[in-house]
Every structure is written in structure tokens, then in C-alpha cells.
Symmetry: C2
Subunit: 397 residues, 2 copies
Amino acid sequence: MALIVQKFGGSSVADAARMRNVAGIITETYKAGNDVVVAVSAQGDTTDDLIEKAREINPDASKREMDMLLAAGEQMSAALLAMAIEKLGFPVVSLLGWQAGVQTDSHYGMAKIKTVSSERLTAELAKRNIVIVAGFQGINKYEDVTTLGRGGSDTSAVALACALRADKCQIYTDVDGVYTADPRKVTGARKLDEITYDEMLELATLGAQVLHNRSVEMAKKYGIEIEVLTSLERKPGTIVKENAKMEKMLVRGVAKDTNVARISIVGLPDTPGVAFRLFDRLAQKKINIDIILQSVGRDGTKDITFTVAGEQADEAMAALADMGNANVVCDRDVAKVSIVGAGMETHPGVAAKMFEALYDKSINIQMIATSEIKVSVLIARGDADKAVQAVHDAFIK
Amino acid sequence: MALIVQKFGGSSVADAARMRNVAGIITETYKAGNDVVVAVSAQGDTTDDLIEKAREINPDASKREMDMLLAAGEQMSAALLAMAIEKLGFPVVSLLGWQAGVQTDSHYGMAKIKTVSSERLTAELAKRNIVIVAGFQGINKYEDVTTLGRGGSDTSAVALACALRADKCQIYTDVDGVYTADPRKVTGARKLDEITYDEMLELATLGAQVLHNRSVEMAKKYGIEIEVLTSLERKPGTIVKENAKMEKMLVRGVAKDTNVARISIVGLPDTPGVAFRLFDRLAQKKINIDIILQSVGRDGTKDITFTVAGEQADEAMAALADMGNANVVCDRDVAKVSIVGAGMETHPGVAAKMFEALYDKSINIQMIATSEIKVSVLIARGDADKAVQAVHDAFIK
């Protein structure tokens, strides 16, 4: 007998038929002799509808009241899912975040789980109840309702799994696993059987929106095995764990990120502290910098180029409005293409092979960034899909 | 400075415009220097919509899970109302039943408030916050969410008023007070300035659905003054209190109840214990009996006639299916018309005057029941509206 935590996203419980399907998955797991704890998201568009309702009344509503409002979405889906399980004749109880002991900090709208006090959960499991927990929510030290931000139900599930020392955490979504690239766009994209936490984190950061980053970080810290799989078919998904099998693949995934802009400052005086003052100014505006390139220009000047997330480009440009004689230029017509793989640490030729694949397709590389398990290049946005396919073809057979 | 508890029903907060209107009423009360605590119902049809959603998934859902589901309705309206008040620039906080300390028994779907632990409420008032409490809900000793049944937000408001020793409890509805009769149907119906708790209780029981009965009982017990008024206009309503002014009116209200059926058992053996066994059988089926009439029949038999609520008539008939030689007849074509007034205790001619008014209109009286402050008659349903008007004309000028 194992203890299994399952998470079902909004599309998995969008209507009564999907609810019944999910109730089927949960009760099959229970019938097989397992203890089952479930974290569930709000149904379909509920969260968006509630945000719209709030906006109509007060576009500047406090985050505390927004959390109070939005938490009702998961409350409703948890109760309805419990009813669907009752209908199948199994013992079940739904719990809100605070009832399940999910304690967070007070960062409303983006709260972090601090601890999960598992007394109630343990007591319900001891009664052989299936436990449905409203995902995405918790309470802070003031006993006020908080929410964990978009994708927070993944984090709820992993936090519950960690607190209960679960044997496995299954994240059910509308895709059937983690792929080497977006299968809708890249020919030959393959589903991975296994992937390491670090690879998953790099892929998540790079725009493969399968798992919420914080949930992967937490799973890594506590060594909880995650399985990403679909609720629409009964087949195995992708296992995320520390020592994932390598499958003789250097590169585990190719990701594309088009939410990026490149900003260049040309003709800065080449004196000490210039770069520091520049990036300090951006940091004060809470603008995250990604790739940075510095080059020596002509006549004792230098050029600095960096990338930011697309939605922060305007803010960054405003922060840099007054740069003396330097010329500030923003290019939004760019994309970042990355390869991720734990194996590349010990294989120095990986980056070269990627560049060669791009050169073969006459794709110009504007910037390069590397980490132990990742190589990213910035290219023209129009080349992005072609680049992903070319790189995928080069590494993944 | 006073402490005022206000309650707003579902139609008062049905949409964004109504929410803004209610936020206006609340903040005007606050601006006048008062502490304000508000109990709010779910918006418009939210509760019915949620019940329909549950029915689609499981028509026999447990009451515990129904309460978990329905409580989300008041959570959403409390948060939205708080946002509307934030928009007007006032300090406000919304609280769920459990956060407001509303503790109930475990009778899911129909829970009774046991106590209100007012620490959090008091702390929020000390910070000069307007406090919006989700009505209709509480928690039981297992820390599970409960609901108080239809109309429960009235009880929430009065319970909060009692716990906080409020100076006044204002119940905002879609009618502007308590009337001597239904003003849509009875010419000359007048709004009352004041009414006693007992009169209000009799009127509520008799079908004038202005205030939830339990809320009036609780207000009476703790001596909390209630005002019933409309949220759609700014004008005084009706005050419910112990020593209401008499206004020289013997009769405070004329009520009609058509949700009633008369059951007659003709030809019972006239032996001891017959009536006991009959009513014991009905009691075991939890069927409430209202007016009872027993008369001696022919040939050593007797007849018993009584009334039940319309929806319990079939059950009552089924329970009486096997009554030997006696003949059981059910008449649903009846109505109960009642006059209520604390003054009639000391005025013996009141009942006679009522009967005379009915006689003048040739309305036949089938049964009569009286209490200290009430006279009820059972008549043919087709005569009901005419009877109410005639009785109203006789007593209320």
C-alpha cells in the first residue's frame, strides 16, 4: 500500500463529465489499495470569471480580498469532486487549504507555503477517507486566506506529498508528459519517460509550461518523485526524479521562448562602475535581466546588450531614458532557443553542435548564454521555429 | 458612536451596481461615526446555481459537501462587497464564518449557531475596519464548514449583533418594512413603524417571509432591536423590539397561508387512545400538525380533522392509509387567514369581530385556532384574498 498525492488542473475538472472521469481515476487508485490525497484546481475558467467580476467592481481591489474571492473557486471544485466520488460509493472528505493545514507567508496573490500541518490529513487517511484538498490556497499567520499564484495547485500537491512523505505525486494535466519539444510544432518530438529535477526546472523556466517551477524545486528538496500525465487517457506519463535514466540522450529538450526583448546601449563611456550603475537602476525597478553581453566599442566607449522579459521592455527603456550620449535601442523581434540536458555537463561538444545546426540553416546567433545543463541562443523571431526543428533534429533521433 | 450590524440579502447585492449601492449605505453608516459589521448573502441566484451544479454530479450528495459548496457563494459576495467598499476609500476586511468565530452544531444544511467568539471581530473594529462577514455559514467542532439553511444570513446578522452587544441590527431586504398585510394584494395595507418580537414571530410563521424566525427568537432572547428596511431607497423601515408602540392598533397584521391541507378522519371508534395513536403515527413520520378539531360523530364514532403543511399532505395520507373502517379525506383547496396583535390579549371581542367580517362576505369558516396574540381561521382557498381584505378593512384604518 502506498500513499499517492494526485493533482488535477482546471481543464481536467472543467465540467460534470470531466469530474466523473477524474473521480474514476481517483477511486481506481484507492481501490488498488492506496491512500489517496488529491489537490484540485478551480473548474475551467472559474478563476478568470471571478477576476473579471472583481474588475467590474474595483480594478484596484486589494490582493487580500482578491485571494478571498479566488479561493472560492477551488472550494467549489473540491466539494463537487468529493460529491462525484460519493456518487461512486467511496468514503471521501473535502478540505480547504486551512483545514488541510497549508500555512503560507502573507504575500497575498503569490504566497509561499511555509509548512503543512498534517494532523487533519493524517486523521482522515486513518479513517480510510479519500481526501480532496482545495489547491492553490492556504492561510497565513493572521488566519487570512492566501493564494499561491497561477499554477499554485501544482505546488499544493507537492507540498502535501512532502508533508505526508508520499510515495509519489501525480500531476494530471491536459498533456500526457514532458516532451523533447512542443509536439504540435516540432516533427519528431518525443515524450520522455524520465527527466531530472534540474532539467525540468530549466525547461519550465524556458517556457515549457508543464509544471510550476516552485513545485519542482520543492519536490527536488524533499526527493518526492513527480509523474506528469494526462487525465484524458490511461497511460504512463513522464517521471521527474533525481537520478532519471539518461536514455543515451545528451539533450532532453529544446525550448523556445518568444516572450523576450533585447536592449542595447551603444557608446557608453568605458569607465569603471558604468555597468554597475546601469544594472542597479534596472534592479531598483525590479526588472529581471537574462542574457548579458558586453563589448568594447570604438573611441574609448563600450556597448552593453541584455535581454528582458517582453512585458518588462517598456519599463526597462523608461529606466534607461537618461543615459547621456549613449544610444539605447530595443529589439522585440527576437526569440530565445535553448537546449537542456544533464548529460551535456560532461560533453563539451554540445554547444558547438547546436551552433553548427543553426549555421546549416543560415540562422544568425545574436547572443549566447550557457549553464551546466543548458545552452541558450538569441536569434531573430522569424527563425525561431526553424531553429527549434533544426536543433531538435541534430540532437534527438 | 454606536455599533451597528447590517445584513444584505442576495437581491441587494445581485450585481455590480447593487454592490456599489450597498457599499454606499455601509460607508454612510460608518461616516456617521458608527462601527459597522455586515453579514452578506450570496449574490442573486448563486446558491440555486450551485445546487443545480451539485445535482448534475450527484443528486444525493452528502450535506457536508453541499455546505462546503454553498458556503463559497457567501465567500464570493463578501469579498466583492469588501472590494466595492475599498473602491470608496474606506478601511474594510472580509471574514468567513469561521474567521468571524461563528460556531455551530453539526446539523449540516440547517446548523444552529451555538456561540460567536468575537475576538477577531473586536480586533478588526478596534482598527476601525468595516467588517464584512460571509453570512449563512459557520464551523462546527470538527472545524468543518456548516450552513444555516435558507434565510440563515438573517440569523448570522442577529447572532453577530448579540455577540458584539450591538446597538441595532438592520436587515436590508427588497421590501421596505413589515406591513399589516401583503401590500401587492390588500388595499389599505400599511407599513408598521414598530412591532413586537412575538408579533413578528407569529407573522413570520404565518407566511409573511420578511425575517427568518430563528433570527427573531434570538433577537428577543438578547433584546437586540431589529430594523427591517429596503436597500433600494433611503427611508426608515419597521423596528422589531420588545415594547413596540401600540399605535392604537389591536391587530398588527393579517396574513394568508395557502401552503396548507386539511385532513379529516371520519368514523373513528370513540374509545380512549385513538387520537393518541393517530398523532403518534404522524409524529413518527415527523409530520407537523397545526390546527386540530375533534367532534363527536354518529353511532359511537368520532371525527378528527387537522391541518398540515401542503408538502406533507401526501406523507400524512400515506401514514393514515390503514385506519380500519374510518374514512380519510384530504382537502388541499383551503387557506389559513390569521390576525396577529399583542393588543388582543386584553380585548376579548377581537375574534368575534373577525368572524363578523367574514360572515358579512358570506365566507364559511371551517376551523378556528387561537393563541394569546393570534386568531387563525381555515377557509376555502378561493375565498382567501377576499377574506384578507375584509378582515384588514375591519381592523386596520
